[in-house]
């Protein structure tokens, strides 16, 4: 009875939370900056927001940051793309053909559960520190979320709907296009949300190892030369990218599949 116009309330509630969150972030940076008015400042180990901002400007003006990001973006997207191309069909088949699911599930589970990053040294040495090695690392990490999400999505398809389409004279093709694909699409997007995070790990692992360019390389190099301000600038950039990607996908999920909200 007290909850009749809840949507309205939750909108305002959300607005309030955004303000609080924004204030907290602002406060955090102000406190960080102000801290060194009291505490002695050692530029070899720590930095402050004002210096990070200067570092940002340097990186942007020299074009280094954009160049490194562009270099990292190639294996990131190639690997993700390959993961979709392989993972989605494999997931559909594993979910729809029960025996194939039985056959491949344990194998995939072993792969998914094991820290595959552990193979990165080998992959890097074998395929080199360039795009190929990184793409393969990204792929091997990102493919499993797609496989598992899609196959569980297919298994969750309402069999009643399949029967409805069949009873209306639908063929196998109609079942795939009208039932399977739309039902599985949300699962693909949800898989993408997880895969993006793992793909970022893949890129960073590849670039920490022995790369000569890329954002991961930049972070570890700035660390080596105690350029803390520029290092923080790069780290913050990665954080922003990670948040934009995952929250962007989350937002897309809500916008594109409103019927799934609350599941």
């Amino acid at each position: 009875m007290a909850a009749q116009d809840l949507p309205h309330a939750s909108f305002i509630e959300r607005y309030r939370n955004a303000v609080l969150g924004g204030l907290a972030v602002l406060l955090f940076f102000v406190a960080w900056q102000a801290l060194f008015l009291i505490v002695p400042f050692n530029p070899l180990f720590i930095t402050k927001p004002s210096l990070i901002a200067t570092g940002y400007v340097d990186l942007l003006e020299s074009g280094d940051l954009l160049h490194d990001l562009a270099v990292s973006a190639v294996p990131f997207f190639l690997g993700l793309f390959a993961a979709v191309i392989v993972g989605v069909p494999l997931g559909i088949v594993m979910g729809w053909r029960v025996r194939i699911g039985y056959a491949l599930d344990p194998l995939m589970t072993v792969f998914y559960a094991s820290p595959l990053v552990a193979l990165a040294p080998l992959l890097v040495i074998f395929f080199g520190v360039g795009t190929a090695g990184k793409t393969i690392i990204v792929f091997s990490l990102a493919v499993f979320p797609f496989i598992f999400n899609v196959s569980s999505g297919v298994r969750a398809v309402d069999r009643l709907l399949v029967n409805v389409v069949r009873s209306l004279g639908g063929r196998e093709r109609d079942i795939y296009l009208k039932i399977l694909f739309p039902s599985v699409l949300p699962y693909i997007v949800a898989g993408a949300r997880i895969a993006v995070g793992r793909a970022l790990i893949g890129v960073l692992v590849g670039e920490f190892f022995a790369a000569s360019e890329g954002i991961g390389h930049a972070i570890s190099r700035f660390g080596d030369i105690f350029a803390i301000d520029r290092m923080f600038a790069c780290i913050l950039t990665v954080m922003v990218i990670a948040v934009v990607l995952t929250e962007g996908i989350r937002w897309a999920e809500r916008a594109a599949f409103p019927w799934r909200v609350g599941r």
């Binding site: 009875m1 007290a2 116009d5 309205h8 309330a9 305002i12 509630e13």
Partner: protein, 256 residues
């Protein structure tokens, strides 16, 4: 003499953040005698449940007085217990441990709790289900647990907030019969909130109709049917006359 439960001019307004306030009760009066079975019927959202929650001590009225035994109600107490519409059983506790909840919070010894729970399990007809979890029970059985839990602390007043609304029609009829049987044995004062006029008449000594929100007492009807009540009484002319009379009072309050 002040009646057993005595409420005068009770007002309560909900003030949800960022929204218009909702006046739930406005000048609500009620008197209940000891041992009486009183039903409250009224349109959805008229504040029936709100009043039960005030009696229970979970809500505080903005103004007005609510007395029990001549004493002001300041919070929950073991002299009152509620049976909730959605059962409210702790899903991680067995039937037995759910029934013992109130006693546990009163720091009763484990041995005493066990004795009480055993007696109540058989009173509400759940023998053999002591160690089942709520999800293994049907709706009717869940509400039997809810009833046993409320009776466990031996309250003077039983507050029942649409206790059978979540049950199917047949189970509901059976539970009404059961409730009367248990009430005969336990002899509590009962405040019973419901939407169903039949249910109210069949169970109660008196039926009170509430107005639409903000709720106030509109009119009370004495039920003259003899006790013990028989199921057949529900098809007698007296029953139907009363039902019609109550309906005529209630229907003006219902907003579709």
């Amino acid at each position: 003499m002040v009646p057993y439960i005595h409420a005068r001019n009770v007002n309560l307004t909900f003030r949800p953040p960022n929204r218009a306030p909702i006046s739930a009760l406005d000048g609500f009066d009620i008197d209940v005698e000891e041992g009486e079975f009183l039903s409250i019927v009224g349109p959805s959202g008229c504040g029936k449940s709100t009043f039960l929650n005030i009696l229970l001590g979970l809500l505080k009225p903005d103004s007005g007085e609510v007395l029990m035994h001549g004493k002001k109600i300041t919070g929950p107490g073991s002299d009152r217990a509620m049976v909730f519409q959605e059962f409210g059983l702790l899903p991680w506790r067995t039937v037995q441990n759910n029934i013992e909840l109130g006693l546990e919070l009163k720091r009763t010894s484990a041995a005493k709790r066990r004795t009480v729970a055993e007696r109540l399990v058989s009173l509400v007809g759940l023998g053999g289900f002591e160690n089942h979890y709520p999800h293994e029970l049907s709706g009717g059985m869940k509400q039997r647990v809810g009833l046993a839990r409320a009776l466990a602390t031996d309250p003077d007043v039983l507050l029942m907030d649409e206790p059978f609304a979540a049950l199917d029609a047949q189970t509901r009829d059976l539970m009404q019969v059961e409730l009367l049987r248990i009430w005969r044995e336990a002899r509590k004062t009962v405040l019973f909130v419901t939407h169903q006029i039949d249910e109210a008449i069949y169970l109660s000594d008196r039926v009170m109709v509430m107005s639409k929100r903000p709720g106030r007492a509109k009119k009370s009807f004495i039920v003259e049917l003899t006790r013990p009540r028989e199921y057949e009484m529900r098809v007698t002319p007296e029953f139907n006359d009363l039902k019609l009379e109550i309906w005529n009072t209630l229907k003006d309050e219902i907003v579709v």
